[in-house]
Subunit: 334 residues, 6 copies
């Protein structure tokens, strides 16, 4: 059982209910999320010792987020509390040709305002992996500095680093950070990176022609060349056919070769948010036992399942990942 530290912000999702628009909904359903927290929750359910490094406001909303994470089995003892506001996002689920819409409301959160000067070194003791994403450095210069410092401290303390690029143009634009430089510095510390050809293009400054497997391979080679410490690159490839019908494939590249899984169809999607985080958790679950192929298969299973689970977080057990690939019937299990 590995100990994985996940560093990032917890958010409350407030989503319009009963298929309504925000213009008409009577209320918002509450879900706790955050890219790195979603990874932590999935890893804890998969049997790992997952701990969250974060800062929550000392309000009833912060209490709520912490309890939710704890309910999934995540070690929340390292989470700090301070005055401030909770990061929020409002979600209007899409339907048919009407895309879902997100209104972010995370500026000025206790997390973003409180990172400066926090010393996480004690929290790293006993850790095997540190998982971070490109969202935190995109929140502003302070957040970027804190993320890089933590990544380097973790590496110095002997932890392995997992980085989900999670490129969000709107956040980088708002903060004005130099995404290529900041993400490059983080990638230089990473052993495992989640990112597709667009992410690698951002990091290396070079685009990749072609399609599918070829393009994925080229991007991976470029990333391995640019970042000598990198051992694994994993990515999903999503094709959106409608708000509730997507197709998803996944691959993982090592310096020795690649494993590319066939595309699977996902129709009648319930909630696609957090699928990327479920993928990351599944890949880590496999890699921790040294098996990249198991990783990408676990990752695609978890990602696919997440589309049919309400909320930001994957819910299940390790055995469910196997059932996904083995199941012969989709009829009700009595």
């Amino acid at each position: 059982m590995a100990r994985i530290l996940c560093f990032g912000e917890l958010l409350l999702r407030l989503a319009a209910t009963e298929g309504d628009l925000i213009a008409q909904t009577r209320g918002f359903a509450i879900h706790v999320g955050g890219a790195e927290a979603n990874v932590a929750a999935a890893l804890a359910q998969l049997g790992h010792d997952a701990a969250m490094l974060s800062i929550l406001p000392d309000t009833l909303l912060g209490d709520r987020a912490l309890a939710a994470l704890r309910g999934h089995g995540v070690d929340t003892s390292l989470i700090r509390r301070r005055a401030g506001r909770m990061g929020l996002y409002f979600f209007e689920p899409g339907a048919g040709p009407r895309p879902g819409a997100i209104v972010y409301d995370r500026v000025g959160s206790a997390f973003a305002e409180g990172l400066v000067g926090v010393d996480w070194s004690g929290a790293l003791v006993g850790g095997d992996w540190l998982h971070i994403s490109g969202i935190t450095p995109a929140l502003g210069a302070d957040c970027a500095r804190a993320t890089l410092a933590l990544a380097r401290a973790a590496r110095a303390a002997g932890l392995r680093l997992s980085l989900d690029c999670n490129y969000r143009p709107s956040l980088w634009e708002a903060s004005g950070g130099d995404a290529r430089a900041l993400m490059g510095a983080l990638a230089a510390e990473a052993e495992l990176m989640f990112g597709n050809h667009r992410d690698v293009a951002l990091l290396t400054g070079t685009g990749f022609a072609g399609e599918g497997r070829d393009r994925g391979h080229a991007a991976a080679q470029a990333a391995f060349a640019a970042f000598p410490g990198l051992r694994y690159i994993a990515a999903t490839d999503r094709r959106v056919e409608g708000a509730h019908s997507h197709r998803l494939s996944a691959r993982i590249d090592t310096r020795e070769g690649a494993i590319q899984l066939d595309e699977i169809g996902l129709s009648g999607i319930v909630d696609r948010i957090g699928a990327g985080d479920a993928f990351a958790a599944g890949v880590l679950h496999g890699l921790i036992s040294g098996d990249p192929e198991a990783g990408v298969r676990h990752g695609l299973a978890a990602a696919a399942q997440k589309h049919f689970i309400p909320g930001d977080m994957w819910i299940g057990k390790a055995a469910d990942l196997d059932v996904f690939w083995e199941s012969e019937s989709l009829d009700i299990r009595r």
Copy 2:
């Protein structure tokens, strides 16, 4: 910004909730509708000065309907109040091979009982368009007379007339009115008519052979021949594949030619009621600025979107109509 007067009855929809049958539902969800009111609400949201001409009961239900319309930005100052009952309809949404079912309960409403002797002439001042539909004349002889009188008064006052045929056999049968004569008298005043080949056949007494574009063209020519004042005929064509899967196309005919849009698929339909009214509003939105092609494109966009918006009324902004045609991805917009 044109001022469009919409004349007709407001109804309360009472719909079984949570996918239940009326036999088992715990309650009814409330939505405010009515064909012409739906047009008014959409036009107001699209930036026009839309006003409703109607009669509501002086009950809590009438208050509710009025507030809903006002919330969408419609000018409700011309709505009259009197004793009586609110027109209702009960709705059991369909699923798969089980068609949706509507139980109308609008007989004896304050609107239908109260139209006689109402003088709307003051309400016409400042108006650019009057929008009516074939539903009101189908409610009975008094309602038919009142509709025709209003249409003629509007024309005399210089307003342009828009008529949605909205042929409902059950209503005409119940009232025993002469649909062809009454609708013909209204069509004779109209500049814009919403109706397909079946509507034109009813008006002209001649059916149209063939399929698709050819039949649409023939019907339009016949209508233009029969009604010299008519300048535009717009219609959608719907193919129902299942309760939640339809295909929809649209066309507009002018005396100069026709614009026919390709059929689009609508799957995972949420609520198809009011799609025709959304189409009418979209067409008017385009025509007001003198552009029939924009009209039919706005109309089909609004009609398609309405299938995925709960309630009788289209909800959105003018920009959403453009997004419908331009959008490259249907994934969540962050």
Copy 3:
């Protein structure tokens, strides 16, 4: 109007709401079910004199189940009450690649514990048919004995016997009963049996090769050979494409020949539980008037409709079965 007695256990279904997993649902929706009770409820709605033979606990839960059945028009005057617990099952509806899950919690119910020594002979007076299923004998040796005794008493009293095989491996395993012997003894009394090639294979000890119609035919012949009193065998054949998309066909075999209906597609499934019971009720509805073809058509219509009706029980009227086959449009009926 025939009088059909249905013998079996009533269960409460407790289902996670709003698409949630059991891990996260705020509450359970309540539905009353039970294979034989579902048949009784459908037959009562179809105009027959359906009566339930069962035992319910004398608790508020038992009251609830009894009232639900009575609301559907079933004669509940023969149901007995005693101390004990209500049989329950918890249901987590599936979505996409996530199959629905059922957690049975029916061990030790008032029904299973109370069957020994109950004399149902008075209840048989005036009955035309007795309908039983393979679920009750699977609950344990006492239940199996009681079922067989009742079947024989019914036959002796001149009733016709209908048997739904309803093979549930988990129940038989738990009770350790000899399924082949016990079901064979019941089949020997039956005039009508619901069961497919797998059920017949269990009864006869011989499997059936081939596919579709041929395999169905072979199984029917084997059953007719094994059970001289058997006149009809009816079965559906289901292909599961996803949690909400199935394909369903049906056939009925007589000693004179077979009627096989084409497969129909069912997409956007709402609730598939009880579809087999709806099929049984539809078949009985036809057979009671002596028309096997009407039976299988009614059966497939009812089974298909049930997939789109929330709860365990089919809801409708006899005319709805005809509408299913005649309907030209699936659009809303106004």
Copy 4:
């Protein structure tokens, strides 16, 4: 077990949910009611053979009402169906100084429109009591005639008549009927009348001075004098302290004397509608076994309990009426 026929209209209550005003409620909760139906439902639960004489529309709403009544154990086989609308009433529950509000919408119902010419004589066969109320004659001249004809036919057939005055000024005003004459004709047939001093004053044309017991006694004497066939008069007396806090007493007068029960306090009222009907059922439950004192005690218990049961109908068993008076503790019963 007596057979009691209850004659009157079934209504659907549509009530604003979650404490909201009709102006803001998202939906209406559905309850089935009607004064005489409420009595029937309570009597059936108390173990009597209660049958409903009514007319329901042949719509999904009519089906719903019928199933609800049947669920409570009422014999619904005498209910007729015809085209028309369902009687409705909309309810906005009160709170504190804000009184509850009812918007009636029962004009033109299938019941009121369909009573003329219906021959109920077959329905009377086997009946012991007929229960009617002053609501039906208030619906219009046809309804009044039909009620009186039925009352007389019942008396001729040997049934005992129970009449709940249920004086509703707004209904009598709307229909323009002569309440005193019509109600007097019915009272002349009644053995049991539910009515207080105001009802008797209406019937006799004389008011009653004084308070409480004295006034009740004087009114009873006047009624007994005016209606020689009358044997029992029962009434509750209500004092309203706030929307959710009332005080209730009850009395029954015979020609031999009166039984007056002390006032009891009802605070935290959940739903007071139907309390009078529960009282009537409780009184009948006692009188049927010839015990007026048991009647008034059962009546007050049922009336009091009804204030704390959602919906129009009392829900319980005969034993619950005893528990009401015997219970030593109001803490949770484990």
Copy 5:
């Protein structure tokens, strides 16, 4: 019909549902509020021409708030839109000895960030009254400056000024503003002030001994002495007996004398938020027709009623204020 301009921020209330704590609630119910907007909504319903001066974010949340206000009949054409976030507050309703809790989350809102440099002079044209509160100046120096500038511009344009002190210590502490100086400058412009002895003490720097009427009188005299332009001071006095049981009285002082209304009891409180704003609207409703006594009676009626109306805003009509004082019974109105 007077035109009253209300200046202030609109907020979304997100409240835990079904009596749950924020720690456990499944979702938040949405209500639109804001002290000055609540006054505008009530005045519009009372028949006045109420217009809102505010700034809303150009998001789906801003759209929602604007539509809600428009639904109540408020003129929203003067509301400006800009980028930014919506002011929020989270509410956990109290029960028994557990007080309700509010988590404010309004820092950095589009309103607070956007007030600088806005020129409202055009908006003042045609106005009779400007209503402001002490909340806006408490939001920060820019907000305070903008409020004072607007107040003075309104006075210069001939409008009468109404000021609700609405002292919120937590807001003043957070912004660090000089409450006495800033509120004093506003009070110097006001003709009508809502404030009790504590508010006057803050403004004048002198506390008031004694109790009840005497203390109220002394405070009013001090305020009249300090602010020569002040003609009316109105206030409620609340005594909290439990989360759902309060007692409320009200008074208005003029330079000629005072009207003090007796305390009334409010038990079973549903939602006390916005009661002070309802009071302000009621007082203005009376004063606009020059009748301070009507003002304070309307004010106390509206305030009392608001405790029993879900949401931030009073809902009703002018006649409801009279009914409050005249009503003889609190039983359901049929």
Copy 6:
């Protein structure tokens, strides 16, 4: 921070929603409870290291219960899983004179069936207190034996024992255990006992005359005499005025003397279940720091608060217990 081990069964509460009876409720709200688990959850929230010793079924229901407890911060690592069913109880909340009703359905649970042969000795390592209740020994002979063995092992390992008598006659009757002997054996090990004069009478075989403080004192003296190891006896005294209005006092007795707190009124009760467990947790919270007076005050505060918190478990923080006694106002905290 003390480590407290709580031993007992976890139950799911399934409660009728929206004030409905079980006869009519649409669904059941889910809450996780169990007397000892409720204590553990409260202690964890109060800052202690609380761990649960229990057995849960390896089903989705067991997962749910475990996650709920973990969400409150309880150490769930000692909980065992096995095949079997989850203990349930169905709850119909009371109102006014209608008492709440509980239908227990816990027979044959995985906990009760699985206790035999479980070795908890490893779980005791590091523990300071063991908390048990009289519920587990009442479940049957095996459960009683296991409880006593655990209690003795804990004492042998140096833990202090806390025993909540929690006398449930219906459980003891069903299992046929000798309550006096079994509870006496447990009391002989306890340092702290929760029980009132009735519990002590059961243990000592002697009743206690008198009222209130005197009776409490006499019972405590008898208990101290009977059980030499006992140092503290704590109890609440409840008077039920109605389903939602109780009065509660509390006392703690030591060998040196007693602290008796005055009765407090609780009106508008939301959910009284679990109040006794909240009391136990509060007392332990105080006693752990050696302060019996703080214990009884914390206990009564927690118990009172629990009446206004939905669910079985107290929710809050240590500071909330102080606020209960210090709070000056019950108005909303902004």
